[in-house]
Symmetry: C2
Subunit: 211 residues, 2 copies
DNA sequence: AAAAAGTCGTGATATTTTTCACAAATTAAT
DNA sequence: ATTAATTTGTGAAAAATATCACGACTTTTT
């Protein structure tokens, strides 16, 4: 809760910057300008400079930014030095894809437990992540605070309520259901059907710029 | 290109409204107020009324909105009367989850073709969607204009260029790569790692309102 | 028939986000 | 050394988005 003056729009871009800085660092690049970064992440360079400026003067005029320094700065700002443990509820098609993906590569996040209602899945594991029965949420969730929700929409509300009771305060919700939670809980929706639909809408109704 | 004055933020919410209206209609509800809708979709009621107002006066003072009428209106606005065909490139973990999901339920969108580089997948089908070899994009894409991209990040740029050459003008990009496309092509990024990371960031750095 | 309650549509205002544009500082070139 | 080229950080302006608040009209209640 140190810097609560950082705009939400900025906060959402930080992980993106971090990833690209990581790439640059691995490529052995020592310095980078907001212009170069802009081309890579497709964000206006003035916006990038503004974003960085909320954290102080991180660059040097006429030079740009030192990759290693900036990376280090964001690593601690984004708490990348410690692993964040996350649980997943609903190891179906989408959930399984997430379980097989390693968020550890660039982000220090690991899905450590999965829960499902399907007895035939319980007790097994997917890529090393054990699957528990959903009835055991209360017993097994421990102090995990962030959850990925990939259950059928009809189950979302009830599961969310149970999660909140267990102390979860962040939910990444992939179901189409808009869940109701207390105000201290943060829910981010990723609604794939809406994304697809709105892309189609934009294509049909917005004038396409031809360069 | 009829109504290009509709704000992007509004356009992104339309599919959401549409889905909830569909639900209401199936439940047999005849009328709905912006307040009710607001509670369901978690968007301020004034914002909803403003959004609707871009399309004219769709409601009635003191009454609200007629569900069937509104639904019909959005159906045609969102081109839900015709099926939009979409292709998917990269039938891996994430791609397979999408192939198994039916976007037809609420949205009139269907993934009709998939492409992959893995010879062992080519020729098969997943839930009725045939998988072609990625080398046959030029031969098989036909006049599909919208593509879901779920290949490894390293392949994204090259594939995107080929797609654009074939006339694709909408790409839903799930890879972490920020692809470069001509300005007449629209790319929507869904960056799951960034979403997860930024949720974690918010939780750690933003004051949690306790109601 | 009158009063009360409900609800839209929207001008006005507030908030958030993006972009412009330039002085100041630094580096690179001559 | 001087000059030219870069590039930051940021005030100011613009653009986009969200919200307030109320007149006008409709429905419901008494
Ligand atoms: N797959 C996609 O491409 C896609 C696209 C858009 C939205 N979604 C949404 O994502 C969610 C998951 O989709 P999916 O395709 O993986 O579905 P799925 O049916 O494959 O998976 C759902 C999983 O949840 C489990 N489950 C059911 N009830 C449960 C409960 N009460 N507690 C815990 N687990 C429970 C099921 O056993 C199953 O494993 C759905 O809400 C769906 O609408 C998926
Ligand atoms: N699975 C996740 O949870 C997740 C999370 C975040 C991001 N992503 C991103 O989504 C993308 C797909 O992830 P995934 O987990 O499904 O990976 P995956 O490896 O399971 O699937 C990739 C698929 O693409 C195919 N492929 C490889 N090269 C190709 C080419 N040139 N043309 C066509 N197909 C090709 C592979 O054969 C494979 O089937 C990746 O870019 C990944 O970074 C995935």
């Amino acid at each position: 809760m140190d810097q609560n003056k950082i705009p939400q729009a900025t906060a959402k871009r930080l992980p993106l910057y971090y990833r690209f800085l990581n790439n640059l660092n691995q490529q052995g690049k020592r310095r980078v300008s907001s212009k170069e970064l802009s081309e890579a992440v497709k964000v206006d360079s003035a916006t990038i400079r503004r974003d960085f400026s909320y954290f102080g003067a991180l660059g040097k005029k006429g030079y740009g930014y030192n990759v290693e320094y900036l990376l280090g700065f964001f690593r601690s700002t984004l708490d990348q030095h410690e692993v964040t443990e996350v649980a997943l509820i609903g190891a179906g098609n989408l959930g399984t894809a997430f379980l097989k993906y390693s968020f550890l590569k660039n982000n220090n996040i690991r899905i450590t437990k999965a829960f499902d209602a399907d007895a035939s899945k319980v007790g097994k594991d997917i890529d090393g992540v054990p699957i528990y029965h959903v009835d055991d949420i209360e017993k097994e969730l421990d102090n995990i605070r962030v959850v990925i929700l990939t259950v059928p929409a009809s189950e979302a509300e009830e599961i969310a309520e149970r999660l909140v009771k267990e102390g979860v305060n962040g939910i990444l919700n992939f179901t189409p259901a808009r869940i109701t939670v207390p105000s201290h809980v943060r829910v981010h929706h990723i609604d794939l059907a809406v994304e697809l639909q709105s892309l189609v809408y934009f294509l049909k109704h917005y004038p396409l710029e031809v360069e």
